[in-house]
Every structure is written in C-alpha cells, then in structure tokens.
C-alpha cells in the first residue's frame, strides 16, 4: 500500500468516523442523564436532514436560516418525545424505556416516509464541493465541516459537564436520581433538557452529513447503529470517548476495506469492537463499572 493510498483510507475513515462520532455524542448526552440508550437517535438525524432539505429546497430558505430552524424543530420533537413517552415511565425499568424508544423510532421513520416519500434527497455542500488535495489524497470541504463541528461540540460539552452547574446536575441525575433530587436538582427538567439537546445535536449531525451522504427516511436505523457502536467503543458516558469511538470505528471500516475486503468491513469493525469490550468492558475511555451491593 502506497503512502498516499494509506492516507486516503485514513481520510475516508475519518470522514465516516466523524459522522459516527457526531451521532455517538447524541447517545452519550441521553445516557449521561438517564442511563438510557435511545434507539430513536438515528431518527433525529434523519429528521434534521430532511427538514433542512424541505426548508431549503421547497421553502427556498437560505441554509443559514434553514439549519437552525431544523435543529430547533427536531429539539422540540425531542422534548415532546420525552414529556409524552419517557417522563410517564420514570419509575419503570430501563429496558421498558428502551422499548419505548424503539417504538418511537418506528413511528418517526414511517411518518417521515409518508411525509417525504421514499427517495433519498441531498443538500448542497456548505462551502462548495471542490476537494482539497493533501499529500496525494483528497478531502472534501464538507468533511472538514463535520470534523470541525465535532471537535467544537465535544470541547463545549466537556466544559459544560465540568464547569456549568446544569452540566454537573445532569451527571448527578444520571448517577443517582433520588439523591440528585434531594440536592435540589429538578431531575425531570434535566432529563427533558438532555433529550432536547440530544435531538438538536442529532439534527445538526443530519444537516451536516446530508451533503456528504444524502438522507432518506430509512437512514436512521443505520446511522443510529453506527453511532451506538461508536459510543460503546469509546465509553458511553464520556463525550470524548464517544468521539474517539466513532472515529476509530470509521477508520477500522476504511482500513478493512483497504486491507481485507469491503464485504467484510462491518464484520471486522464489530469484531474489533467485541475484542475491545472483552479487554475493556466499558469501552476505551469508559468509567469502570462498579456495582453497588
């Protein structure tokens, strides 16, 4: 393998990987305040992309306006989802809630199919699609956007969790909700906020990746799976871990295409994921799980 080829595999991997990373962040956000896995996370991404497309091409709004509207609308979907389906079940088992998110994802996906039809659609790249040459390999400007937004987001999230009172409250709510409540934290609002943020981040991811990968009603499941895998690989409760996991996943896929065979790329990626979990049961950067007796 030549160096420029290797570099191209790496860039390809980082491009896909940063998409997975951005989605993985959404999983982390909800997990960090509820210990839940939201199976509808991919649908937020899909909705974000499709709403932005409609606002841009059907309503004729410029991207700079279409994008925030799309993010806000999806965040509202997240809030409604939490208020109607998660909050009434706050005393139920985790698996019950996960099945609720499965139901919501089926619902959102098929409503989207009715509203937007079956054909995938696309958005123009934010700043042109002329590829940038890099030591014999190329990268698209849109991929740089995805990478930049991912990095900025994860830095802001770190600050948010470490420094802001809301962020700390979020972590506390996840670790021990009744205790957090006793400390004067309104855990119910915290959970709602985390759903709104997670849905908004999902939508942002959807808008950012649509120029690269196109969006149709059915992409949510696939993207959600990759995001979940990335988040688990890196460590579910750590935003940095989620991003790391997503990017590593992308690079593994890309390199396994280069070295092995594209038919086996998902098998290779999941195999490595399993190996990592067997060695580090909470992901690369995950906290060690300690069980209280």
């Amino acid at each position: 393998m030549h160096f420029d080829q290797f570099l191209q595999y790496l860039i390809s991997g980082i491009t896909s990987g940063s998409i997975y990373a951005l989605i993985a962040l959404g999983f982390t956000l909800i997990h960090n305040s509820t210990k839940l896995i939201n199976f509808a996370q991919g649908e937020f991404v899909m909705l974000g992309g499709l709403i932005a497309i409609s606002l841009y091409s059907a309503a004729g709004l410029p991207l700079i306006i279409a994008i925030p509207i799309s993010i806000i609308l999806v965040a509202i979907v997240g809030i409604v989802f939490e208020r109607l389906a998660i909050r009434p079940l706050r005393n139920s088992s985790n698996i019950t809630l996960i099945i609720v998110t499965v139901g919501v994802s089926i619902l959102l996906k098929n409503v989207a199919m009715i509203l937007w039809g079956r054909d995938p659609q696309s958005l123009p790249a934010f700043t042109g699609d002329k590829p940038i040459a890099l030591f014999g390999a190329t990268i698209t400007p849109q991929a740089l956007w995805v990478i930049a937004v991912t990095v900025i987001t994860v830095v802001l999230l770190q600050v948010f969790y470490k420094r802001s009172i809301v962020g700390k409250a979020m972590k506390a709510s996840a670790i021990n909700p009744p205790a957090a409540n006793l400390m004067g934290i309104n855990t119910s609002n915290i959970v709602m906020l985390s759903f709104a943020m997670s849905a908004g981040f999902g939508a942002m991811a959807g808008v950012l990746i649509t120029p690269i990968s196109m969006t149709g009603y059915s992409v949510g499941g696939f993207l959600g799976l990759k995001g979940f895998a990335g988040a688990v690989l890196g460590g579910l409760d750590n935003p940095v871990g989620a991003v790391l996991g997503g990017v590593v996943l992308g690079i593994i896929e890309s390199l396994s295409i280069g070295i092995i065979d594209s038919g086996y790329k998902d098998a290779v990626a999941f195999f490595i994921l399993l190996l990592v979990l067997f060695i580090r049961p909470s992901g690369i950067l995950g906290d060690k799980v300690r069980e209280k007796v």
Binding site: H31, I37, I95, V100, I106, L107, L225, G263, F270
Partner: protein, 334 residues
C-alpha cells in the same frame, strides 16, 4: 374470573388448557394462510420463551437472537440441500451449532454489563449476518438457499402447514414445559437472584457465571430450533429474514408481554405477531400504527401486558372484595 385464575394458578391446568386450545386452533382454519401464521407464531413463542428466560430471569439483554434464529435456519438448509441429508440431521446440526457458538460467545460476552452487553450481542449478530451474505459458496449469498426439504417421521411427511403445525406446537409445548420447570426450579431462583444483584447472589454461593452461560446457551438453542423449523416450513432462507430488526422485534416481544413470566412471553409474542400480520393491510400506515401501539402499550402498561392483566384482575377482586387488599397489591407488584 376467580375460577379462571385459580385454574391458571395451578401450572399444569394452565398448561393443559393452553396446549389443548392451541392444538384445536387449526381445526378452525382450513386455510393454509392462518395455519402458516400460527406456525410463525409458534416459532416466535419458542424463541421469545428462551429470550424471556435470559432477560427476565438472568437479566441479560440480547439484541442478537436473530443470529441464532438464522444460524438454525441455515444449518438446516445447508445440511439438507448441500449434503442431501435427512432434515432431522438439519435440526440436530442447528442445535449443535447453536449450542457450541452460544457457549463460545457467552463466556467472554456475559462478563459485560448493561448496554455494553447489548452492544456485544448486537455486534455478534451483525457479524453473523455478514457471514450469511459473504460466504456465498455455503450460504448462497443474497439469493439464499431454496429447495429445502420437509421434515418427516417414518415416511410421514410434514408437507402441509397443518401437519407441520402439529410438530411445531409439540416443540413449543416442550419449550414451554422446560421454561416453566426451569423458572420454578433451584436454577430459576438462582437466576432471579442474579437479576436482582449479581454480587449478592455470588456471595450467597451461587455460581452466577455458570447459570448465565447455561441460560444463554439454552435460549440460543431455542432460537436455532425455531430457525430450523422455519427453514423446513418455508423451504427457503435468505439473509433478509435475519436482520437487526428481527432481533429488536424479539426483545420487544419479551418486554411487551412482561418479563420474568413464561405466560408474558407467550402473550408478547402472540400479540406482536398477530398485530404485525393484521396491520399489513394498512400499507404505508402499517408501521406508523404499529409504532404507536407499541409506545402506547409501554406507556400505559410499563410492566407489560401480563403485568397489566394481573393488575386488572387484582383491581376487580378488590372492587368486589373477593380478596383482602394486600393480596391485590401483591399481584399488582409481581
């Protein structure tokens, strides 16, 4: 109502009632279609029974049982079409394959907790799915395998849905009896302890790892048998039938019915299978309605249909002062 509940209370009568009812069902339908749906239902119940033991009693979530379902189906398909052996060898092969693979997977995987375990089982299933697609010489790739022969005993061919139905339901009843006995045995109690707190269970001298692995293998074998029966009914297998979506549906059946209860598994599998079939007429709205119903049931009956059922019965009893209040509370909590 009391009479029914009293009857259900004694396990044997419940079982016998259910068994007879199911055996009589196909007599009502001469129609192949209904019988086929009942066969699929039987297969789903079998798999969900196993998964229910794993999730409800051992507290281990698996989002990868479609892999075992598929492995069972493929093992049967390959043994009968490629090697021309008797379908019974196919069934045997799928049980052995499922058991060995499940054992191999369980040892490292079941050390994981919560979502990490779920991800690991999911990842395993995705790998198996890729193998179904890519090992073209063995699995036929996307085109799958067709021409799988039907089961037979001493020259008696299970070649019509009605005949196969009998066999499938004998297997399901066997699975049911195994599950009930297991749930109420020493192992069942140990498993519930594992679900409650693994550390506590371990310190009581329960070999938690051993029980977890055993139950995982058992549930995988149930799924493999289901797959094998499916292959011989349909005569055709392809990777599209054993996707992540199928794994998730199976988990949904367990939770919808109510975990840690054998009857919950049956109710969950039956409700979802029949609902899916019934909704097909609604075309584009089919899955919208399905998703809505799923969310509604979970929001209004977080303990699942079985839990909600016993609760309603409890309420009625209290209302009519059939039993003291405390008993009602107890049944509601279970």
């Amino acid at each position: 109502m009391v009479a029914v509940r009293a009857l259900l209370k004694t396990r044997r009568t419940g079982l016998a009632l259910y068994g007879t009812a199911m055996a009589l069902l196909p007599l009502m339908f001469s129609n192949d279609y209904y019988v086929k749906v009942l066969i699929i239902l039987g297969i789903n119940i079998l798999i969900v029974l196993g998964l229910n033991l794993l999730m409800g009693y051992a507290g281990q979530v698996s989002i990868g049982h479609a892999a075992f379902y598929g492995m069972g189906a493929y093992a049967s398909a390959i043994v009968t079409t490629k090697y021309g052996m008797s379908p019974w060898f196919g069934l045997l092969a799928s049980i052995i394959l499922g058991g060995i693979v499940a054992y191999g997977i369980a040892i490292p995987t079941l050390r994981l907790k919560g979502h990490y375990l779920a991800m690991a089982t999911l990842g395993f299933a995705e790998i198996v799915h890729v193998l179904f697609l890519q090992l073209k010489d063995i699995t036929g790739g996307t085109d799958g395998i067709s021409g799988i022969s039907t089961l037979s005993i001493a020259g008696f061919l299970f070649d019509s849905p009605q005949k196969l139905y009998i066999l499938v339901w004998i297997v399901v009843m066997a699975g049911l009896i195994i599950s009930i006995n297991l749930a109420n045995s020493r192992v069942g109690r140990a498993l519930r302890a594992v679900h409650g707190s693994e550390i506590a269970a371990a310190s009581m001298g329960i070999d938690t790892a051993k029980y977890k692995i055993q139950i995982f293998v058992l549930s995988a074998v149930f799924a493999c048998i289901g797959g094998s029966l499916y292959a011989h009914m349909a005569g055709f297998v392809s990777p599209d039938s054993f996707t992540l979506g199928v794994s998730i549906t199976l988990v949904t059946m367990v939770v919808l019915g109510g975990m840690a209860n054998v009857w919950g598994a049956i109710i969950g599998a039956s409700t979802l299978t029949i609902l899916e079939e019934y909704l097909k007429g609604y075309e584009d709205f089919n899955m919208v309605i399905f998703g809505l119903i799923l969310v509604l049931v979970m929001v209004f009956m977080p303990q699942g249909l079985y839990g909600a059922g016993t609760r309603v019965i409890g309420l009625i009893k209290r209302r009519f002062k059939l039993i003291p209040d405390t008993a009602g509370e107890e049944s509601a909590a279970s």
